[in-house]
């Protein structure tokens, strides 16, 4: 597992039925591109977050494939429709096999 990987997610706590809400996600990660060399001239191997998925109560909101051109600490902002109370589940997949998750509840009034 890469060092200091930490997901951050901002989801509103409440929404009205079928409201479209804004979600922001950021995961602290080096996103080593595989294009850089170290001091001895050796290529530093690629090590990135290569996929992020967002689901609400098991249904897909967004499935994103990331390439090395995504900046350090990948930041993504998008919108989701909220049909009912429930849980957003965020999953990030690391090149090294690690999987990071975050869950956020939202209440539909």
């Amino acid at each position: 597992m890469a060092d200091n990987v930490k997901p951050r997610v901002r989801v509103p706590k409440t929404a009205s039925k079928d409201e479209v809400i804004t979600i922001k996600t950021l995961i602290s990660h080096q996103m080593e591109s595989g294009q850089r060399k170290d001091k001895d001239g050796k290529v530093i191997p690629r090590s990135i977050i290569n996929r992020m998925t967002v689901e609400f109560n098991g249904q897909s909101v967004l499935d994103m494939t990331l390439e090395p051109a995504i900046s350090t600490n990948p930041y993504v902002e998008f919108q989701a429709k909220v049909p009912e109370s429930g849980e957003f589940k965020f999953t990030w997949y690391d090149d090294d096999g690690s999987v990071y998750e975050d869950v956020q509840k939202i209440e539909v009034a």
């Binding site: 850089r36 494939t65 051109a69």
Partner: protein
């Protein structure tokens, strides 16, 4: 003594120029890839899956005209009704940037993220729609090279 000092000055100048480059050695020293990287056109063709790619309405790409630093360039794309969007940086060593697949609970088909651009280049967003259409938007981003490596 004199010529040695001049040589050092040149080396120093090169050092400063390098330090200012986004992704540092990226352009000159791309890794000896195990397999040749796909070109930007190949990324687009693979995504389109045989469909004709048209430049036109339906996709809005928002990118700065000039990026203060190529390491973190904010990019937004909006393609109402699209099922998938591919972002491509034609001048990067790996031109593919990201692919977004929207699910049934997507609030719309718009996303913002931050990308690395190795040099001044065209950024493209290609969107696939349910009727089979594939539409492309382009935006040129000038990447400046900073003065102070810090």
């Amino acid at each position: 003594m004199n010529s040695r000092r001049r040589t050092m000055l040149v080396a120093g100048a090169a050092g400063i120029a390098l330090a200012g480059l986004p992704l540092r050695v990226l352009a000159q020293a791309a890794a000896p890839a195990a397999q040749p990287e796909m070109t930007a056109d190949q990324w687009v063709a693979e995504f389109a899956g045989g469909a004709e790619v048209t430049d036109g309405d339906g996709v809005t790409l928002t990118a700065p005209e000039i990026a203060e630093n190529g390491n973190t360039v904010p990019i937004s794309v909006d393609a109402p009704g699209a099922t998938e969007i591919l972002l491509v940086a034609s001048g990067n060593p790996v031109p593919g940037v990201a692919k977004f697949t929207f699910g049934p609970l997507a609030g719309n088909q718009a996303v913002s993220t931050r990308v690395r651009l190795a040099k001044t280049q065209d950024v493209m967003a290609i969107a696939k729609f349910t009727d089979g259409k594939v539409v492309r938007a382009k935006s040129n981003v000038k990447v400046t090279i900073g003065g102070c490596g810090g």
